[in-house]
Amino acid sequence: MTATPTRTPAPRAPKLNLIGLEKNAYKGADSTLCNGCGHDSISSRIINAAWEMGLKQEKVVKFSGIGCSSKTPAYFLGMSHGFNSLHGRMPSVATGALVANRTLIGIGVSGDGDTASIGIGQFKHLVRRNVPMVYIVENNGVYGLTKGQFSATADQGQKLKYAGTNPYMPLDVCLEALAANATFVARSFAGDAKQLEALLKAAIAHKGLAVLDVISPCVTFNNHDESTKSYAFGKENETPLHDLSFVPSFEQIEIDEYDDETEVQLHDGSWLVLKKLDEHYDPTDKHLAYRTLEDARKQQKLLTGIFYIEPETPNFLDILQMTETPLAHLPEAQTRPGRAALEKLMAEL
């Protein structure tokens, strides 16, 4: 049951990727986060995924809010523009930038405070608009930069050194995303390199907003074994919904029929292959996604994988019906109507 589908060829990693770059070229500045931080693992996975997919960094824009997680865009894809915005406000900035230049590939990194507390409103509207980008929540249930306060995703009853015991129920980022009509909802664990990378690639290939809630332990403030956001808990309790493979569109692979697999073709022609661990799980069934997430929450299970995907919903750029040329590059001749137009409309006033 747990065997990985073998259709994705895993040849020895070549030194150069499709566009002739070494993996090192996808690095950023040195991380200043604590040693062992889950966030750094995620940055490495982003570097790997981008390199393997042959992303042109000049076409990528990185967005973040404020917090430990939001610092990380400085640590990957050094040849991409980055916008480290305000606390909880990355969604609006990303929306504006991606509308201004529709050819950009957006990767946003946020945290649980940034997304589920101060930024829950903007997050939900970003989801609702289906702005085409990857939205990663590096979720550790705690405020690191201000040294250890509870965030809105902290477990009820969780204890922290300074903050005491958390009396409130947590918000579940994936459930919030689903309720806001997300078209791609997934969860992973910073310690699960293989799954996270497959999810990142699928998220990048998705044509709408892809929400990736990544449990990323805080080694300094929230790594008690009983926390659902600790390494120990993650390692012991991670239950993948399926084994995941991502087949990029440039790998012309025959997809064979397997009884226990679901394949989802993404808009760019790539394939997401889910080998079911739970034979009933269908990632296009929204009711099932709700129920599965709610059950996992009740059972305190770290369920990972793709909960829901809907590849065909029009994204925000489709809805806006803009010219192919990005707004940012339209010449004056196209953005300033002529003299006759002004005369005509003044005559009509």
Partner: protein
């Protein structure tokens, strides 16, 4: 019909008063009176008469008192005037005070079902059988209430001798040529006119007559429409907004006109995007993202909106991102008077955000300047790489004004210092071996060069942040780096001083008094100066059109013994700014400030200066 028989007049009206009086229409909001009032103004405007309309409306959908003040001035004075000669009473809730407010010698047209508390002897009453006329017109039930307001248009047209053809044309214009509503409304106007002609003795002195010399070369338009058109002709490509009175109609006009004027001729696709955001924080965040990525990005809001935008505006100042923010001011603080005008956001807009920072502020005085400054604001924002405010107000934004025709913008768009991949590759050679740094000032004007995301050059990327940074956009907490950057931003602000619109100065030889004002006070200042001249007081006048101020303002103040700073707020915010900038001559400045939600009147200004 309950016609009150006029008391017999001892003599005929000896002298008729042409084109120089004030009409006040009292209705309940949501009753559709806006169309009737617009028809009156438009007809008068088309007859060549200088006319202005001020809508005093409540923050409410339906049923609360609303007044619409229509001033005719043969001499071309278009400020709000306090005195009322002709009162049109359509609202029982305010009828007593409305009737009491008319000047002696004035007239009152009233819905004849309203009670009359005091039969004043010094005014003339004209009843209008609104209910009977509406009943006789056999209107569709759902339209009766709206079309009923056309009764006062018809009666006023008879008494004042407004040309009926102009009213008909105005209706055709208003309803975009749609036959049915034109016929229904026109039918009501003519029925009321005919009734008045048959039943009223026109023994009152107020008349209108066609004239020339003032309205030629003008438009009749509200400022928000002009602002939107200005943005469209200034090549805006992105707007994000959140509904708030009195700015909403900027975004709505933008959407209406852009849909017609800004489509690719071949594909019909939009050359712009307009997003209604979830709140003002998101609106300005989107504008920041879009401006950063190379769009000409704007938002339109009012006072409470700029409060919410404060954090992002500070970010934009520090991270150097172009953005245009229209603040159509209403009366604050807090929710304040949401449907009343004010100039109370000047200090807030100029200094918005925590820490040090100053933002350029443009201050249009009429719809024509709204049109022009929409373009100026984009050019400045992109040239200076910073948020730029345009401070309009409810009076300009939502009232219709007679205003100079818009001039087609001749100057090419200024997109500022943006490096293409090719320019970036040559940067070092062209700048004495200096490599490009996002926050490096190589030209000595405080303005660095930027690259846009997507620029196809491996060295184009930089990391935009609200935290301390070096000239090369790397993170830094070093005191020297911080201060150097902040001093450069201050230097950039000095550059802005030279680029923003200069003040408009009208100097009179022999005057010892100066007046400085801004924005929508302009018509009242013009009139106040004329009144002061009648009293033997000559004045010179400087109208500030932007912050930061330039040397012309100092030179003006130096010339006069006393300079009155006239503004529509409580604290004298322009006065405070000038007092700091011109502290050596600050003793000459006198604050003349008022905030009651209404546009300033010439009478009040005159009193303040003459006393």
């Amino acid at each position: 019909m309950s016609v009150i028989v006029q008391e017999p007049q001892a003599e005929q009206v000896s002298q008729l008063i042409y084109n120089d009086f004030n009409i006040n229409v009292a209705t309940a909001n949501g009753s559709g009176s806006q169309t009737s009032n617009n028809m009156l103004i438009r007809s008068l405007y088309k007859m060549g008469i200088p006319v202005t309309g001020k809508n005093l409306f409540p923050s409410n959908i339906q049923g609360l008192p609303t007044w619409y003040n229509i001033r005719l001035s043969k001499d071309g004075y278009l400020a709000r005037r306090e005195r009322v000669e002709i009162m049109i009473c359509m609202n029982g809730a305010t009828v007593a005070e409305d009737m009491a407010s008319v000047e002696p010698g004035g007239i009152i047209l009233y819905d004849d079902t309203l009670p009359i508390a005091d039969h004043r002897k010094d005014v003339k009453f004209y009843p209008m059988p609104v209910r009977e006329l509406v009943k006789a017109a056999n209107l569709p039930y759902n339209l009766q209430r709206y079309i009923a307001n056309m009764v006062y248009v018809g009666v006023a047209a008879y008494l004042l001798e407004i040309e009926m053809d102009e009213i008909k044309d105005a209706l055709a214009w208003n309803f975009g040529g749609k036959t049915k509503p034109i016929e229904l409304n026109w039918g009501m106007v003519t029925a009321a006119y005919d009734w008045a002609k048959a039943n009223l003795t026109n023994d009152q002195p107020y008349r209108v007559r066609r004239m020339t010399g003032f309205n030629e070369g003008t438009l009749l338009v509200d400022g928000n429409t002009a602002s939107a058109l200005g943005a469209i002709f200034a090549g805006f490509t992105f707007a994000a907004w959140y509904p708030i009175t009195p700015s909403t109609s900027i975004a709505e006009s933008l959407a209406d006109y852009a849909a017609k004027l800004r489509r690719d001729p071949e594909t019909q696709k939009a050359t712009y995007a307009i997003v209604q955001a979830e709140d003002e924080l998101a609106a300005i965040g989107m504008v920041m993202g879009a401006g950063w990525a190379g769009a000409r990005a704007m938002t339109a809001t009012s006072g409470p909106g700029i409060s919410l935008m404060s954090e992002f505006v500070g970010y934009g100042y520090f991270a150097e991102i172009p953005a245009v923010i229209w603040d159509v001011q209403r009366m604050g603080p807090s929710t304040g008077l949401p449907t009343r005008t004010s100039q109370g956001d000047l200090l807030a807009a100029h200094t918005l955000g925590h820490g040090d920072g100053r933002h350029p502020v443009l201050i249009p005085a009429d719809p024509t300047e709204c049109f022009e400054m929409a373009g100026t604001a984009f050019d400045l924002a992109e040239r200076l790489q910073t948020p730029v405010f345009v401070l309009s107000d409810l009076d300009i934004g939502m009232n219709i004004w007679i205003t100079k025709k818009f001039e087609y913008p001749e100057k090419p768009l200024d997109r500022g210092k943006v490096l293409s991949a090719e320019q970036l590759a040559k940067f070092k050679d062209e700048h004495n071996g200096q490599r490009w740094g996002r926050y490096l000032d190589v030209d000595g004007d405080g303005i660095p060069y930027r690259t846009l995301p997507g620029t196809d050059h491996p060295g184009a990327a930089y990391f935009t942040r609200g935290t301390g940074h070096t000239e090369y956009a790397t993170y830094s907490e070093r005191p020297h780096d911080w201060e150097k950057n902040m001093l450069r931003l201050a230097h950039k602000f000095e550059t802005a001083r030279k680029l923003v619109p200069a003040p408009v100065v009208d100097e009179v030889e022999g005057a010892s008094i100066g007046i400085i004002s801004m924005g929508s006070n302009h018509p009242a200042i013009i009139e106040a100066r004329a009144r002061l001249r009648e009293q033997g007081i000559e004045t010179s006048y400087l109208r500030v059109r932007a912050l930061p101020i330039n040397d012309a303002v100092r030179a003006f103040v130096e010339k006069y013994d006393k300079v009155y700073i006239v503004e529509n707020n409580r604290d004298g915010q322009l006065y405070e700014i000038l007092l700091v900038d011109l502290h050596e001559v600050g003793y000459k400045l006198v604050s003349v400030a008022k905030c009651d939600g209404l546009p300033l009147s010439a009478r009040w200004i005159t009193e303040q200066i003459a006393k």
